[in-house]
Structure formats: C-alpha cells, structure tokens
C-alpha cells in the first residue's frame, strides 16, 4: 500500500482537499481524473467530510486523537493504481511536534512509511517573518518623517539602549513564521522517512481563489511560494536530492462559502467548483497532485 502523507499546520485545508478528492474520484465527474476502483471497507470518515463539502459547509477539521487512516482504491486510464493511504492527521499534531519536539510512535511510523508528501499552506493563515525594521521602513517610505540629523542620532541611541518595553510579548515557538515551522517539520521527516530519495512532494497552496489573480498561469502557485514563503521554497529547491517538488494552487471549495455561495451552487456538476492550477492540471482535477505523488507523471519537478 502506498502512503501519501499530508503535512500542514492547523486550518490549511487538508481535510477539505481529501473531501473533494474523495468526491471527484468516486463520482468520476472530472474527465481524466483518478477514479475510485472500489469503496474502501470503512468509508465513514470520508463520507462524513464529503457530505459537508457537498452541502457547501465548512468541512469538519481533524482534531488530535480522532485521526484515522483513510484509504482509497484508485485507478487511472491505464488500470489499477492500488490502495493509497491518506493519513488524515491534524494540524495541531504537526504544530505540537514543532513546539514540543516529540511525536507519538504511531505518528513516527506513519511518517517513516510515507512514500510521498502533500505539503499544505494557506495564503490567509501564514505567519509572516515581518521585522520591525521592515515595517518602519515601509511606513517611512509611505509617510516620510523629516527629522534633523541629531534627532535621528538620538533616536538610534535610544533604540540601542532599549530592552525592556511595555506591551512586548514573550517568545513562543508558536509565533515563529509558518515557513520556518514547515521547514523544520520537513527536516523531521527527512530523518525518519525511509522512502527512496528523492521523495515526491506536492505543495498545495490552498484557498487559491484568494490569490490566483495576482499569480496567473501554470507557474502561479510556484511563483506565490517563491515570493511569499521564500525560506520554504529555498529549502525545497536546495534539497533536490531529497525532494522532487511540484506546486499547485488549489481551491477545493472553489471560493468563499458565504460570499460566493450562489455562484458555487450554480455549477451543474459539484466538482466543477474546484479550482486547480499547476503543472499538467486538467480543469477541476484535484487528483493531479496525487497523481504526481504516486509517480504517475514524469520526473520533472520544480
């Protein structure tokens, strides 16, 4: 059995992706997509999240302790692909691993047997690495403040001396930038994962409808990653012996469930609300990143 492991911090759309994937493969509404060969023994979790998705509701998130293995028997145009395990692990568990520096043995086992990785990021929830100086420079550029030289010098000296400051928060690993947390999580997998290198990685930029206008085309999601999560992008590119990466922009819901509800409901086939952009992507085919992970596409990654 192949194990495609989804990695991501809380609220990045891992479960929504799985719900839409289940629907697309089972309904066979999208021409050329991977298809379900047969329904797995236990489909309760998949059916539950798919029902949320079909009713245009927010798909219930996976919470720690209630994670369950999910398998799909898949086939493509050439025949049976096989049983694929999608461990639906909670974002809190990944966040906990970054903060606490441990994970369960069960978790360790899942990571060690993962054959490929789906790495999820959400443009609306990333913690940016903004520095105070960067913000000050931006403010200065927008609203230049004329000050005599000696006053600037005094300001610099005060900045040199400042250490205690009211309102300052204490350090916590949870406040680290998202891209840094993800790089360290990937470093954990690097140590544990037994799969042959390079491992195929599909980076899923979820809620793609939020940013796709600014990042058009097949390389849009890749450009977004390069620009907005440069540290993660650099890590993946520089470790090409370890990771073979493709980047996809995916909106499994297709838009905002409140604002765009009418438009989303107007599609004849529910799968048509899915947005996906990236290498070799057919319209609405959310199975394409999985196809990449399973080695059903050529070698060329990033």
């Amino acid at each position: 059995m192949t194990n495609v492991l989804s990695i991501g911090l809380p609220g990045v759309g891992k479960t929504t992706f799985l719900a839409a994937l289940w629907h697309v493969t089972e309904s066979q509404e999208v021409p050329g997509s991977l298809r379900l060969d047969r329904i797995s023994e236990n489909a309760k979790h998949l059916n539950s999240i798919r029902n949320d998705w079909l009713r245009f509701e927010k798909v219930g998130r996976t919470v720690p302790g209630q994670e369950q293995p999910t398998t799909l028997w898949l086939r493509d145009n050439h025949g049976l692909v096989g049983e694929v395990l999608f461990p639906d692990l909670s974002g809190e568990s990944f966040e906990g691993a970054w903060v606490e520096r441990h994970w369960t043995k069960e978790y360790d086992q899942i990571v060690s047997t993962a054959g490929s990785l789906l790495v999820f990021v959400h443009p609306g929830t990333i913690k940016e690495p903004y520095t105070i100086a960067e913000m000050q420079r931006m403010a200065e550029a927008a609203f230049p403040e004329e000050k005599p030289g000696d006053e600037v010098e005094k300001q610099m000296e005060e900045a040199e001396e400042s250490s205690a400051e009211g309102g300052a928060e204490d350090w916590s690993p949870l406040k680290a930038p998202t891209q840094v947390q993800l790089v360290d999580l990937l470093q954990f997998t690097e140590k544990v994962q037994k799969a042959k290198r390079p491992v195929r990685v599909a980076v899923i930029v979820s809620a793609w409808d939020l940013v796709r206008q600014d990042y058009p085309g097949e390389d849009g999601a890749r450009n977004w990653l390069k620009e907005r999560m440069s540290y993660l992008d650099q890590y993946l590119r520089s470790n090409f012996e370890l990771f073979n990466v493709r980047v996809y922009g995916v909106s499994a819901q297709g838009g905002d469930l409140k604002k765009d509800r009418d438009a989303l409901q107007n599609h004849i086939r529910t799968s048509e609300r899915i947005l996906i952009e990236g290498p070799d992507c057919g319209a609405h085919d959310i199975s394409e990143p999985v196809r990449w992970c399973l080695g059903l596409r050529g070698e060329a990654g990033h």
Binding site: P64, G65, E67, L89, E92, S93, G96, A97, E100, R101, H102, W103, T104, K105, Y107, D108, K127, P129, Y130, T131, I132, A133, E134, M135, R137, E140, G149, V152, E153, Q155, M156, E157, E158, A159, E160, S162, E165, G167, A168, E169, W171, P173, K175, A176, P177, V180, V183, D184, Q187, F188, E190, K191, S230, Y231, Q234, Y235, R237, S238, N239, F240
Partner: protein, 321 residues
C-alpha cells in the same frame, strides 16, 4: 493517536541533536536549539563545515549578526545562496523574535547571550543559487560578552576558550557606535586591541589564522559623525590593527550594520553578504579532529584490556589514574 503532553519530562538531553525514544508512546525529535560543543563536534566530524567564532564586548552586536543572517533568508535568497536547512532553527528563531513584529515591540532588540549558556553553536546549511555545487554547512560560535571581558582580565579565562584556536574565522566585533562616541572611543579601542594582543601572547592564533575585525553599528557611526569622519575612523582603526597583520594568515577590517535603523540609508544586513560568501567559499583551515574519548568502563572482554594498553589516549582517565 494523541500528542497530549506526557507527565514525565521529555527531551531531557542537553544537545539539540538528541533523538532518543522516551517511554513507550513518544519519540523525541531534535530540539533545534543552539548546539553544545559535543553536538558541534559531531557536525564537524561529519562535514567540512567552517567554524566562525564571534567575539566581542557585551552589546557589540554578535547576536544581532547571527539573527540577521537567519533573517536574510526569510524573504529572498541571501548572498547568492539558498537556505538549505539548519539544526538550530528554534535557536535562530528565538534570537530573531524580539526584532519581529510578532513580538509586539516598537523597537527591534536582540536578547543577549547569557554567560550561563557558555559557548553555543548555530548551524546553517546553504547551497549556491545555481544549484551546481553541494550543500555547505556553517557553524557560528556565539559567546557571551562576559567571556570577552573575562579573557581581557585573565589569561586563564582566554586559554579556556579553546574554540578560538580551532576557528576557521575569528570574527572580532568592535562596537562602531562606541568608537564614534567621545566618551567611549578610547575604552573601546583599547579593549579591542588588548584582546588581540592577549590572543597572540597566549598563542591562540596560528600563522594561518583568519581574523575579521567588524566595526558594527555603522549606521550609528554615520549618524554620529557623518560620512567623511566615518571614513577617517575606519582608516584610523585599520592603522591601529595593522601591527597584527603580519602574524596572521589574513586580517580584514570592515564596517557592518546587521540591522540598520530605519532612518539609515544602509540596507539591512549591510556588509554581511560578502562575509558569508567568504566564510562559505574559503577552504577551512586544516585542523586535527579531536576524537571523543571513550568511557573507561569495566573491562569485560580481552580486547578491552588490549585496547587500553595499546591506545590509552582513546580512553577517559582521571588525573590521578
């Protein structure tokens, strides 16, 4: 599956690289904190990572330099390199935090290295942007300003800093802001020169040692004395340190501003790009690997006795043995 915290303390290991299994349920992961000497030795044994030792008086800008190197990669590649990972991500992040907006501060600061932390090592992996050469690693040794002051006052304290002779690059940070201050100039220069003299007297530098004197906070220097006088200050410092040049493999002096004030015309990480390139690209100095000695455990098999007799230097021994 649950990741709720166990009742017994996890990660009891001191080193950042500890990954032992704890109890029946949890598996420890690397701590990501700055490395101690043993973990740093492991990196050195496994790679040809150059060791860069950062030394300077309290608040001379050592930790800010470290944090700025890590921050340099957050938005774009830096100095022609891509970030390729680090064993001390958590340590870097902790150092960067007080200069980030997430800290809720209005003015960026850097938490100083505490003397209790001893000498700690930060680890970086980078790869050239063209991806044509292998990943390279770097160890940055950070010591508290109190170590620096201790070394000025006591030759014994200096000799205890055994990382200095091992350094591929000894980086001596001199507070430029203080050099440009009438109150502090004499004191700052005298101490900086004295440390160099002490290092020579105690034979801390070999003839091929590479020393970088960094005049830090150059933005403050420019604001205090202007461009012309800043140039004069740089030249006067070069002159003051010139005497050491012949005894070393290389002595460089350059102004830097790791985190220039937002009113300064200097770019963030001013001067650090060239430094990082030279640290990464120059061949590390040849050094004799220091083998870790084996514990002198109860001798159980004949080979133990043989090994102890034939290679006693491999085993830990008490001084009165």
């Amino acid at each position: 599956m649950s990741t709720s915290p166990p009742t017994e303390p996890l990660n009891p290991q001191s080193g950042a690289e500890a990954t032992a299994t704890v109890g029946e349920v949890f598996v420890n992961l690397p701590l990501g904190k700055p490395l101690g000497e043993l973990d740093a030795s492991d990196v050195l044994r496994a790679t040809d990572a150059p060791v860069v030792v950062l030394a300077g008086a309290p608040k001379s800008g050592k930790t800010t330099l470290l944090a700025s190197l890590h921050d340099g990669f957050q938005r774009t590649p830096f100095a022609g390199y891509l970030a390729a990972g680090s064993r001390t991500v958590m340590g870097f992040e902790e150092r960067c935090f007080d200069s980030r907006t997430a800290s809720g501060r209005k003015t960026p600061v850097t938490q100083r290295t505490r003397v209790q932390e001893g000498i700690v090592f930060y680890h970086m992996k980078v790869r050239k942007q063209d991806l044509l050469s292998p990943i390279k690693q770097l160890l940055l040794a950070d010591m508290s300003g109190e170590h620096y002051e201790g070394a000025l006052d006591s030759a014994t304290a200096l000799r205890a800093l055994t990382v200095i002779p091992r350094a591929d690059h000894f980086v001596h940070l001199v507070d430029g802001g203080r050099l440009a201050s009438k109150d502090w100039s004499g004191h700052t220069q005298a101490n900086a020169l004295m440390l160099m003299r002490r290092c020579f007297e105690e034979k801390m530098f070999d003839s091929d040692a590479k020393v970088d004197i960094l005049l830090t906070k150059w933005d403050l220097v420019l604001a205090r004395v202007g461009e012309e006088k800043a140039g004069e200050l740089l030249r006067s410092q070069q002159e003051a340190f010139r005497g050491f040049e012949k005894k070393l493999g290389r002595l460089r002096m350059m102004p830097i501003a790791s985190r220039p004030h937002y009113k300064s015309a200097l770019q963030p990480a001013y001067g650090l790009s060239g430094l990082l390139q030279s640290w990464m690209e120059e061949t590390p100095r040849k050094s004799t690997p220091q083998a870790r000695q084996l514990p002198l455990t109860t001798l159980q098999i004949p080979f133990d006795s043989f090994a102890l007799r034939e290679a006693p230097h491999l085993f830990e021994r008490n001084s009165d043995d």
